[in-house]
């Protein structure tokens, strides 16, 4: 009965995911040239004829929407409307795609070659493709792929070309434009470029949104963008950005289209091309500016094996059905539709909610490889483990993951030992077997290294490994938070869960307002696997539940510790006028100090991603405030509040005894668990 209230396939006993087809197979058996030159005749929305790029620009420039803003800007700036119109035209020129089938054919040819070298398989769920094809004909379609790699959008277009589907136009960040030639190539394969920030620029916003809406309303092409806004460097889904989603949903609310279909697409890489690049970036090596030569250097990677890619086209989500009963469209009746307007509160929360739900759907259909489970185990055993233990625990974890409906791509025919060894082989850059012990690879020192350099090298491999563990977090997150709440934190279990839920809502995809639902889901899952029992209103760990809860606790341990380090830093070290800019390097050096002194074993706190998320959480919880002084943003720390958050996080935990000998987390956990178990849990867990 509990499960019926969950919106996600996660708990659906009828859950059936589509099968995959390897599209590279045909490429290995037939001519790439023929493939690139074959007849391509996709069907468009209601059979419209595709719109030439120039015509599209004209429609946008002549729209009432744009005219309104041009006149407004002209009045405000005193500039003649013609001049503003000219500006708009320049913006549009800079932005607009110039999709050309010939360019796409070039890519189709080149990518076929590259994919065959890089990947074993590129797998696509063909039923999803069929659903998409249907959707494209009936409604304007928005493709919302997950974003883990630069490859994503080329891959998407490649697949759509392969299946004779309408090629999408893709919102891309302006940084690509730096790469002159590549930028133009991407433009001609359907990318349109938007500036990363244009906060107050009314005209830019108007041109941009009208450009997107015009394509959408007329169904000229599916629109593709990344809800996460940027590539996730951690392989965790990023909390969604709402700007573009607002733009593509608005035409539905205004009645300009009957419906809009959102299609979540989950792109799972067995190995990500950017793997160690991301780890370095998170550790503070700035992101290299996208440049053509940089991309060429990437040729090095062509010699490596990157395993398989799985692309899962999810069920199209009808905005109309989602909005049913949530947004009253008639509130749009009393305002001219061509005048830009801030979305109403009701709409904003709907769009926000929708964004989260789509990202969760992306997560749901991410394909997980056995290595992901192994990485999760290795990270809890940084000293390494025996191969047989790792194998045994991986099998155990597989069972747990499957009972939580993880989308696990486990080769059923192969013996477990083979699965483990081939995973280790593919990821030999991250883990190595010496004797019968498996441990993380630490970059070979070339000559003498400072302790800091050694630490840095170790951190790179931990963060790289974490990017695999992170892929499974969405499966275990809710029960894991419940486990932590049960084991570590006193007070009422629900309150603790709710606190963690709130605390971590920048790090994980937690749909706003779903706390109770997520809690129920967590209870349901833990009960389902026998880890806990719920006699009446109690939540009680069972004897067989110990390994599960302990694993879950270990899974979240780095996050708990990381947040605590941030709290500690803010309370103990942060100077009065700490600026936002100084924050990340300062936390980093604080953590480095702790690790070098042997007081902290958590390397993940060195990740700028975790540091940013922790800060965002503290800001959200009003423990830290931002104040703008001159051109600097200063962080004002409410030490009392931060301290008490630290307290809650750190109750009975290692970090609160920073100067004592650290205990292995799993040991401390068992002790705490036993304490809690003995004391019994508070009966009513829901406020």
């Amino acid at each position: 009965s509990v499960s019926s209230s969950f919106p996600f396939s996660l708990l659906d006993p009828m859950l059936k995911r589509d099968c995959f087809e390897d599209i590279l197979e045909e490429r290995r058996n037939s001519s790439d040239l023929k493939y690139a030159l074959r007849c391509y005749a996709p069907v468009l929305y209601k059979g419209v004829t595709p719109c030439k790029a120039n015509m599209l620009k004209n429609i946008v420039l002549q729209s009432d929407q744009l005219h309104y803003v041009i006149n407004q800007v002209s009045q405000e700036s005193g500039e003649a409307p013609d001049i503003i119109q000219e500006e708009a035209s320049v913006i549009l020129e800079e932005m607009a795609h110039r999709l050309q089938i010939s360019t796409v054919r070039c890519f189709a040819f080149a990518l076929s070659k590259a994919f065959k070298t890089l990947f074993q398989h590129v797998c696509v769920n063909e039923e999803g493709i069929q659903r998409l094809q249907q959707a494209i004909q009936e409604h304007p379609v928005v493709l919302l792929p997950s974003h883990r790699s630069y490859m994503d959008f080329l891959l998407m277009s490649y697949i759509l070309y392969t299946y004779d589907l309408a090629l999408p136009v893709i919102a891309a960040g302006m940084d690509f434009m730096g790469m002159k030639f590549v930028g133009e190539m991407l433009r001609m394969s359907g990318a349109f470029f938007i500036r990363r920030s244009f906060g107050g620029d009314k005209l830019y916003w108007a041109v941009f949104s009208e450009y997107v809406k015009t394509m959408l309303r007329n169904g000229f092409a599916p629109i593709e963008f990344f809800l996460e806004g940027t590539r996730s460097r951690t392989c965790k889904s990023l909390t969604p950005k709402l700007g573009l989603l607002n733009i593509v949903i608005e035409p539905f609310f205004k009645g300009e289209v009957f419906d809009v279909n959102l299609v979540p697409v989950s792109i799972s890489y067995e190995r990500i091309l950017e793997e160690s690049l991301y780890a370095r970036e998170l550790l503070g090596v700035p992101k290299p500016k996208e440049s053509t030569s940089g991309l060429l250097k990437a040729r090095r990677i062509l010699s490596e094996d990157y395993g398989s890619i799985h692309v899962y086209f999810g069920q199209p989500v009808s905005v109309r059905s989602l909005a049913q009963g949530k947004v009253n469209r008639s509130t749009y009746n009393l305002f001219p539709r061509h005048i830009p307007r801030k979305p109403m509160e009701e709409t904003q929360s709907f769009v926000n909610d929708t964004a989260y739900r789509i990202v969760r759907l992306q997560e749901d259909n991410m394909v997980l490889k056995p290595w992901v489970l192994m990485a999760s185990l290795l990270l809890q055993n940084l000293e390494g483990l025996e191969l047989s233990v790792l194998t045994e625990q991986t099998v155990w974890l597989r069972g747990l993951a499957l009972s939580y409906a993880a989308f696990l791509d486990w080769p059923d025919q192969a013996p477990t030992a083979k699965v483990v060894s081939s995973s280790l082989a593919l990821h030999r850059g991250l883990a190595c077997v010496s004797g019968d012990r498996v441990s993380l690879v630490v970059g070979e020192p070339l000559g003498p290294v400072t302790p800091e350099e050694a630490l840095f090298n170790r951190a790179v491999s931990v963060l790289s490994c974490a990017s695999y563990r992170n892929q499974v977090l969405h499966v275990f997150l809710r029960p894991a938070m419940l486990a932590v709440a049960m084991l570590h934190l006193s007070d009422e279990v629900y309150n603790c869960f709710s606190f963690l839920w709130d605390m971590f809502s920048n790090d994980f995809i937690l749909c706003p307002g779903d706390t109770v639902q997520d809690f129920e889901e967590a209870c349901y899952l833990l009960v389902k696997t026998g880890a806990v029992q719920m006699p009446q209103q109690d939540i009680v760990m069972t004897d067989i539940g110990q390994p599960t809860l302990s694993f879950f606790n270990g899974l979240l341990e780095p996050f708990l510790q990381g947040y605590q380090v941030v709290c500690r830093y803010l309370c103990e070290e942060a100077s009065e006028g700490l600026t936002e800019k100084q924050y990340i390097p300062a936390v980093r050096s604080f953590a480095v100090k702790l690790i070098l002194a042997g007081n902290l074993r958590c390397y993940e706190v060195l990740s700028s991603d975790m540091q940013k998320n922790a800060l965002a959480a503290l800001l959200r919880m009003d423990a830290v405030r931002k104040v703008k002084v001159a051109d600097q943003v200063t962080l004002i720390v409410n030490k009392m509040a931060v301290n008490s958050i630290d307290d809650i996080l750190g109750k009975n935990r290692m970090i609160s005894h920073i100067n004592q000998t650290p205990i292995s987390p799993s040991l401390s956990l068992v002790a705490v668990a036993e304490d809690l178990y003995r004391d019994g849990l508070t009966p009513s867990y829901i406020r």
């Binding site: 205004k254 009645g255 300009e256 009957f258 009253n328 469209r329 008639s330 749009y332 009746n333 001219p336 539709r337």
Partner: protein
């Protein structure tokens, strides 16, 4: 003493003044040669509608008993009778259209119950004291089953479907009264108040909003007050161009009688053959030629309404007043909830010297709407301008294809147009000949700028001929498993296209989701233009074979369509009204404060809910 003489003196002066005033009034009434007065009850009934309506009209379908569509033995469609231009004609290609459009077959009949089963009608529960008092007034009444059932419904699909299926009505009026004039109504209303009887005014019976349905929860005796016998033109004032008319008169009689004197009202709703003047007032009716003559609210100069609190009327016939909110607007659209409209003074016009039909073909609906918008912008709309979508064009084409009076040949010359996209606007110009021709040119010039091509007078005329017979088509459909209905809205110009597209799509989807096995017909037309928007009319029909409860399915789909209309900026109704069918949206439409204002008027005027049809609120 002094004060006594003073007061008698002032009384004397006052009386003298009253006499003088009365004299003026008398003189005005008698001597005004421009006024043609008719004494109440002085003349024999000249109206079309007899008390026993079922003598000339179908009891379970639209219009006259002698006029109907049928498929003859050869499978060809025919229209029977002699009343219409189409009467007696064979329409050979209608069958193809019908079968192809609906997936229906002339071999699959769903015939109606042949006659009313009087025993299935709930027995009349009479208020004996009321009946006694009523008898004393000499006003005719009846409690026969046929009379009662005839007044228990309008022309909603579910009502007609139930009649055809011989389904039992939960509640019908317990008796019918036929007042002959205003004073009769006053007496009836007084008696109803005295004996706590529920009154439901009944005019032409053409309601499509469940307005005539008796509330099933009503326990009092329900009396249907049929105004059809109050059908005289009492006087015509040629100086002011107004006529004073009893409100029971039906549209065709009103026009015919005025025409005899050289006048017309120009108010021509599509139902004008049967709908009544009082009904128009009660529902805020709109006529086809409102561009020249105005809608009912523009035509009404003075109203006389009998309510439980007494008679409401204004003291003069000033053409416009600033005397607070216009009390006429409490009555216009009151849907029989406040009282009975008994007499109306309304504007009349001399019969136009010249009338000319016209038509324009556009490459697609978008172009057509853009043209109508431009015509409205330039305020040069002809008396009538209507834009039919491609579905209606297809229907018109097929139904007239091989008719002897060759109305269709024009259409086929437009080779450049996609026959599955093109749409037709029909036009009607009125006025003096020269101006009509000038006006015509202006409109055609505008049309040309939107790619519109003039398609001849005949094509225009046939569109208007279809107007009156189209209601008969539904009965034909119902003989062959097809249910159909129409509904309307008004919407700002910039939303017309979006609304039409979304509503059609919504209907198609809802049908699919609700298990309708065949593609429904959804069609719309823009029937009126205004400065700020248009009236859009939808037709919706589907083949219901395989459905357990087609009426329920239909109602759910219509409900969804209305939600879609409201979500797309359309109004709850342009001219059909609210009745009981659309009550649920009133709050949303006019705000709860608005509903409260209407409710307080109702509470004041009719505290005991004598006019208890429960429409609107």
């Amino acid at each position: 003493m002094a004060s006594d003489s003073n007061s008698s003196e002032s009384q004397r002066i006052a009386q003298q003044r009253l006499r003088i005033i009365a004299g003026h009034l008398q003189k005005h009434k008698d001597d005004d040669s421009g006024t043609i007065a008719t004494e109440c009850k002085a003349e024999a009934n000249k109206g079309t509608v007899p008390r026993k309506r079922q003598e000339i009209m179908k009891w379970n379908g639209w219009g006259y008993s002698d006029s109907k569509f049928l498929f003859n033995k050869k499978g060809q469609a025919e229209f029977t009778g002699k009343r219409y231009r189409l009467s007696g004609m064979v329409l050979p290609s209608l069958q193809d259209w019908f079968e192809n459009t609906f997936g229906a077959s002339v071999n699959h009949k769903s015939p109606a119950t042949p006659a009313l089963n009087a025993s299935a009608v709930p027995p009349a529960s009479l208020n004996e004291a009321f009946v006694e008092d009523l008898k004393a007034t000499g006003i005719p009444f009846s409690h026969e089953a046929e009379d009662r059932v005839f007044r228990a419904h309008g022309h909603c699909l579910h009502e007609i479907f139930a009649l055809r299926e011989g389904k039992k009505f939960e509640r019908v009026p317990d008796m019918v009264v036929w007042p002959n004039c205003h004073n009769d109504v006053v007496k009836i209303v007084e008696l109803a108040c005295k004996h706590n009887v529920c009154l439901i005014p009944y005019g032409g019976g053409t309601s499509v909003t469940s307005a005539l349905e008796c509330p099933p929860e009503e326990t009092r005796c329900i009396v249907s007050l049929d105004t059809s016998q109050m059908n005289r033109i009492l006087w015509i004032d040629e100086k002011n161009l107004v006529a004073h008319v009893e409100a029971g008169i039906i549209g065709q009689d009103l026009e015919r009688l005025l025409n005899e004197s050289g006048y017309c009202t120009g108010h021509e709703p599509d139902s004008m053959e049967f709908s009544s003047l009082g009904g128009w007032v009660a529902t805020r009716a709109s006529g086809m030629k409102k561009n020249v003559y105005g809608n009912i609210e523009d035509l009404v100069i003075h109203l006389k309404v009998v309510t439980p609190r007494g008679v409401i009327e204004k003291s003069c016939q000033g053409p416009r007043m600033s005397t607070g909110p216009d009390i006429h607007h409490f009555i216009l659209g009151s849907e029989g909830t406040l009282g009975v409209v008994t007499e109306v003074t309304m504007k009349i016009r001399p019969i136009p010297e010249y009338q000319k039909y016209g038509s324009v073909v556009f490459p697609n609906f978008e172009a057509g709407v853009a043209c109508l918008r431009e015509v409205a912008k330039q305020r040069c709309a002809p008396a009538s301008i209507r834009l039919m979508d491609n579905e209606q064009f297809q229907f018109g084409k097929s139904s007239f294809k091989t008719l002897p009076f060759h109305l269709c040949k024009g259409i086929y010359i437009f080779k450049g147009f996609d026959p599955h996209q093109l749409v037709v606007a029909t036009l009607l110009f009125e006025g003096d000949r020269e101006r009509v021709l000038q006006h015509e040119k202006q409109v055609y010039d505008i049309a040309a700028t939107f790619g519109g091509l003039a398609a001849g007078e005949d094509n225009g005329q046939r569109g208007y001929i279809l107007t009156f017979v189209i209601a008969y088509l539904r009965d034909l459909g119902m003989d062959y498993y097809v249910v159909a209905e129409s509904f309307e809205t008004s919407v700002p110009w910039d939303r017309v296209l979006d609304l039409c597209r979304n509503v059609k799509e919504r209907i198609n989807r809802e049908c699919k989701e609700r298990g309708v096995q065949f593609q429904p017909l959804t069609s719309c037309r823009v029937t009126q233009t205004y400065d700020a928007g248009a009236c859009v009319y939808f037709y919706f029909a589907f083949n219901y074979r395989g459905l357990a409860d087609p009426v329920h399915t239909y109602e759910r789909v219509e409900h969804a369509a209305r939600e879609e209309i409201l979500a797309n900026g359309g109004s709850l109704s342009h001219h059909h009204g609210v009745g009981k069918l659309r009550k649920e949206w009133m709050k949303e439409s006019i705000s709860s404060l608005g509903v409260g204002m209407l409710q307080s008027v109702k509470d004041y005027v009719d505290p005991d809910n004598i006019f208890g049809n429960r429409n609107l609120l």
